[in-house]
């Protein structure tokens, strides 16, 4: 087999999408539909963050599309005053891929949940990530099935007692960030529904990234899994558990930045311990641009399902040609080098003529 280098330039995630000089506000992104999530649902906070953040992009509203699958979070598109498709369970990445490949002038967002993306739609998610289609995927992780009223999900902790697992669930959960990095996703980040500032920063970075950007958002389900992430929100607990990533800075955390992330010289994996004066210069300095995904993967392993530690921020952001840019480049190359002569195609090279 021969391989062809298409020699594509690296461009930004929003290049090619029409912009506007009109002033936009969050209100412009609110649709006329009544929001129907349960009171207290974390989805409200994410919706508000997205609606508040969208004007920053300065895009024409009609060139933004939200595509979702099935689940509570997948109602999201109805509440955005943009174009939107509420599709079928797990298939949003596939549908969005067809849209993104055929329409370079659109900013395409996928909204999905832990069941939708990681269970029924796991195949589409991992292939979208490996292809690096220019999509922004918001994965709302509440570690439970909400819309079907409370069964365990592929991110639920082992032993979870739910309607379908009265004796405790047996499945080992996915770490969505590890999964994405295993598929060599070019942009992976995590944020909490309650941290509007970080969520907005991460969404901005995702939007600017050319390629698939996966953002895992920890989201509270007040009905079926209330308080799942409370330990990450409580004063006193929060600081010693959350490890925020800032590109170019040493990874330090804790109320007094007394903890740090260190590389194990033997295994190469990362671990957390208290920082003493002597090893301050051995604290890992975060670089989301490392080409080899192993570093970001090691970072992702610091998050266990017990949430003893949770890494947030942008794990990885690297450049790699996107599937959709390359697919369009092939079409353009073919159009440039070969005339679209339909009659010649239909005739072919081997014809014969029957005289009248």
């Amino acid at each position: 087999m021969t391989t062809i280098d298409l020699g594509l330039p690296t461009i930004g995630g929003l290049d090619g999408i029409p912009t506007t000089d009109d002033r936009q506000s969050a209100k412009d992104y609110k649709s006329d539909q009544e929001v129907r999530w349960c009171p207290g649902c974390g989805d409200y906070a994410v919706l508000a963050a997205v609606q508040g953040f969208m004007p920053q992009l300065g895009l024409k509203r009609e060139n933004i599309v939200f595509v979702s699958g099935i689940g509570c979070s997948s109602r999201f598109p109805y509440y955005m005053n943009t174009y939107g498709v509420h599709s079928i369970h797990g298939r949003a990445p596939a549908i969005a891929t067809g849209l993104a490949v055929s329409r370079p002038d659109l900013s395409v967002w996928v909204v999905t949940g832990d069941g939708d993306a990681l269970s029924i739609g796991g195949n589409h998610l991992m292939h979208t990530l490996r292809r690096n289609v220019n999509l922004k995927i918001l994965l709302f992780n509440n570690r439970i099935y909400g819309l079907t009223k409370g069964q365990y999900s592929p991110t639920s902790e082992v032993g979870k007692v739910t309607k379908s697992t009265p004796m405790g669930s047996l499945d080992n959960p996915f770490n969505p960030v590890s999964l994405a990095l295993g598929a060599e996703a070019t942009f992976v980040a995590r944020a909490l529904d309650s941290d509007r500032k970080q969520l907005t920063e991460v969404l901005g970075a995702a939007a600017r990234h050319r390629g698939t950007a996966l953002v895992e958002i920890y989201q509270n389900c007040p009905i079926f899994n209330d308080g799942a992430f409370d330990v990450l929100k409580e004063t006193g607990e929060r600081d010693r558990r959350i490890i925020p990533l800032v590109d170019g800075e040493p990874i330090l955390f804790g109320a007094n930045r007394e903890y740090g992330v260190f590389r194990d010289p033997v295994t190469g994996s990362l671990r957390v311990h208290k920082v003493v004066e002597a090893d301050l210069d051995t604290v890992v300095v975060h670089d989301a641009g490392v080409t080899d995904p192993s570093y970001a993967f090691a970072l992702s392993r610091l998050t266990g399902s017990d949430l003893a530690h949770t890494v947030t921020g942008v794990f990885r952001s690297v450049d790699r040609p996107t599937y959709d840019d390359q697919a369009r480049a092939q079409v353009q190359l073919a159009q440039k080098t070969k005339p679209a002569d339909l009659q010649a195609l239909l005739r072919g090279n081997d014809t014969w003529t029957v005289a009248g």
Binding site: P93, G98, H124
Partner: protein, 633 residues
């Protein structure tokens, strides 16, 4: 000699001379999967086409890429029927069987009628190979083949001899023996040779020594016929008197691919084919991937579901979304077809049917997906269904499928099958100027009837009941669609009982109201009381059988359905005009069931599900029995 005799069983001959004129011949090349029988058959087909014969072909090969060598499961064959008049089928039985090894002989000889010609590659008739397929003694040595004209030709030995000077290794040299067989048959039937030599040189352009070896083997086969005295007679089949125009040979899958290219041009829309490889549909993807210059994107997805998902996503964005598959893939795509029904977006789904259920018979033909196409979704999810009747007919059928998808904003199912997909026939190349205009208008402006300036994505065209196609990027038309039930007009989510009932009926009425051409009855005398109704690839065998029935002095009428949903408007009236209706199908009676349900007609279902097309002879018998009152069910 009269040529208007229908598909008779053995060639009629004009005079007992050295060169005999025939009106038709059926040749079957049979050998091991690795013997290159498909390419041999293809080349003979091309030569027959270039010569101006009418033709029909039936490739028949195992699902295994390389079954164990020399075994019965490994036998691959290619049957070719060529004639000096318009023929309808690849022929029931071969007049000439070329058997490259004992397995090919054993698997095929029973189809050769008494007196038929058998050309055998004797080199493979070793004790080991004979034992492998269960021959106790060498059939070439006993009198078991006494009823045939047997020609024993050591093809491998002769090929090796012809290639001695090339210095090619034995293994490579022996591989050219299929070209020896082709050369011999080409001599016997006065076929042109330039095309094959040119083809070989192009195919092996990167390995000129292999190209040369194949050309030499081909010529050696030709010369063998010419110089040995084993073959006293050669045969001529004159060009067919087809309608005036320029022709080419085409397979069903290629015709579908070209139809897709043409549809994109005629609709002035980019095309996105989202698909996943599956036998026997993959060739459509292979062909389309070569024609990106027509603004075609081919997306080989991670699975069947993603293939159709991407196609639907592209349709939402204003492209013409297409997906290709076979029966098992339709099962996986069903949910997305339902979403396309609900979102009312154009989408074309091609099902190249194969033997089922489950994995079934991947390389064999069947037409058992009709009811799956019709009803295989949850809820009331009607979709239009079309079926081509022959390889060349795929071109027109896909254009009509695209017309319906675009005009009515609906997924459309096209049911081809393995026989149509791989079979080939001459195609009168259409003039691009004569192709239908398929252009569409996207929605541009808000349309709310209340004057609010809102956009209502489900406000229908009063005539077609189609909803507007509003693509992202159009200012002021931002809207949300999805799989949840919509409020009539506004398209907002609605759980209202009366609205759901109304929407179910509206979606049904839209499909029922699709304009399709009336069926044309073929009833030459106008006196027939028996009507044969067919769909899809049974067109050829039914037509050939009807000719035979008529030649035998009976009257019979036929209609062939391209449109299976909705049915043509005049179909009920046509069915009511005959005292017996018979429906031959390669399934358990799926169309018969629909006709009975829809028209309350006491249709006789004749079915066979063998993975092979009907034989004309078999349908002739069935129709004759019914005419004579012998068979009622």
């Amino acid at each position: 000699m009269s040529v208007d005799v229908g598909d008779t069983d053995s060639p009629s001959t004009a005079a007992d001379t050295v060169v005999r004129k025939l009106d038709r011949v059926v040749i079957r090349f049979a050998g091991d999967s690795g013997d290159g029988m498909q390419i041999t058959g293809d080349r003979f087909t091309s030569a027959a086409a270039a010569f101006g014969n009418d033709l029909a072909t039936l490739p028949n090969f195992p699902a295994e890429i390389r079954a164990p060598q020399g075994t019965l499961p490994g036998v691959s064959s290619f049957q070719l029927h060529f004639a000096d008049y318009d023929i309808l089928t690849p022929g029931d039985r071969p007049d000439v069987l070329v058997a490259m090894n004992p397995a090919a002989l054993m698997a095929n000889v029973r189809d050769l009628p008494p007196g038929g010609m058998l050309i055998v590659n004797t080199d493979e008739f070793t004790k080991r190979n004979l034992t492998k397929v269960g021959y106790d003694s060498d059939p070439l040595g006993d009198d078991s083949l006494a009823g045939y004209q047997v020609h024993k030709v050591p093809m491998a030995t002769l090929t090796l001899g012809a290639l001695e000077s090339t210095g090619l290794g034995k293994k490579d040299a022996e591989r050219a023996k299929n070209m020896f067989a082709l050369g011999l048959l080409s001599w016997m039937y006065h076929r042109p040779t330039e095309g094959t030599e040119r083809f070989l040189r192009e195919k092996f352009a990167r390995r000129p020594e292999i190209a040369e070896a194949n050309v030499l083997a081909f010529r050696a086969g030709w010369n063998y016929g010419e110089t040995t005295e084993s073959f006293a007679v050669t045969y001529e089949v004159a060009p067919a008197k087809l309608a005036q125009g320029t022709y080419r040979q085409i397979t069903g899958n290629t015709a579908l691919a070209y139809g897709i290219v043409a549809a994109g041009q005629q609709a002035r829309l980019p095309i996105l084919l989202g698909t996943y490889p599956i036998t026997p549909a993959s060739d459509i993807l292979h062909e389309l991937s070569k024609h990106k210059n027509f603004n075609i994107t081919t997306f080989q997805a991670e699975d069947e579901i993603a293939g159709i998902g991407a196609a639907l996503g592209a349709s939402y964005g204003g492209s013409l979304g297409m997906t290709t598959t076979s029966g098992p893939g339709i099962a996986l795509k069903s949910e997305t077809i339902g979403l396309a029904v609900m979102t009312e977006l154009p989408l074309v789904v091609i099902d190249v049917q194969r033997g089922g259920p489950s994995t079934g018979l991947p390389t064999k033909t069947e037409q058992a997906d009709l009811l799956q196409a019709m009803f295989g979704r949850n809820g009331e999810a009607p979709v239009p269904i079309l079926a081509p009747q022959s390889p060349a007919d795929c071109f027109c059928t896909i254009l009509d499928a695209v017309r319906i998808a675009l005009t009515y904003r609906t997924p459309v199912l096209l049911l081809s099958d393995g026989y149509i997909a791989n079979g080939s026939e001459p195609w009168l190349v259409p003039s691009v100027d004569d192709l239908p205009d398929l252009s569409v208008e996207f929605a541009r402006k808000p349309n709310a009837p209340d004057g609010s300036g809102d956009f209502w994505p489900y406000l229908r065209d009063p005539e077609t009941l189609a909803r507007p196609w509003a693509v992202p990027g159009t200012p002021g038309l931002e809207h949300r669609i999805g799989g949840l039930e919509k409020q009539d007009g506004s398209g907002n989510i609605s759980y209202d009982p009366d609205n759901h009932d109304k929407m179910v009926r509206l979606r049904q009425a839209k499909i029922d109201g699709i304009k399709v051409p009336d069926v044309v009855v073929d009833d030459p005398s106008g006196d027939a009381s028996v009507l044969v109704v067919g769909w899809g690839s049974t067109y050829g065998p039914i037509g050939a059988a009807a000719r035979r029935v008529r030649n035998a002095g009976h009257q019979v009428a036929t209609v062939h359905l391209r449109h299976l949903n909705p049915f043509p408007a005049n179909l009920g009236e046509v069915l009511a005009g005959y005292s017996r209706v018979v429906v031959p199908e390669m399934n358990m009676g799926q169309l018969a069931l629909l006709l009975r349900a829809k028209f309350l007609v006491d249709a006789v279902s004749y079915t066979k599900v063998a993975g092979l097309p009907f034989k004309a002879e078999e349908l002739q018998r069935v129709i004759t029995d019914i005419i004579e009152g012998g068979m009622t069910r």
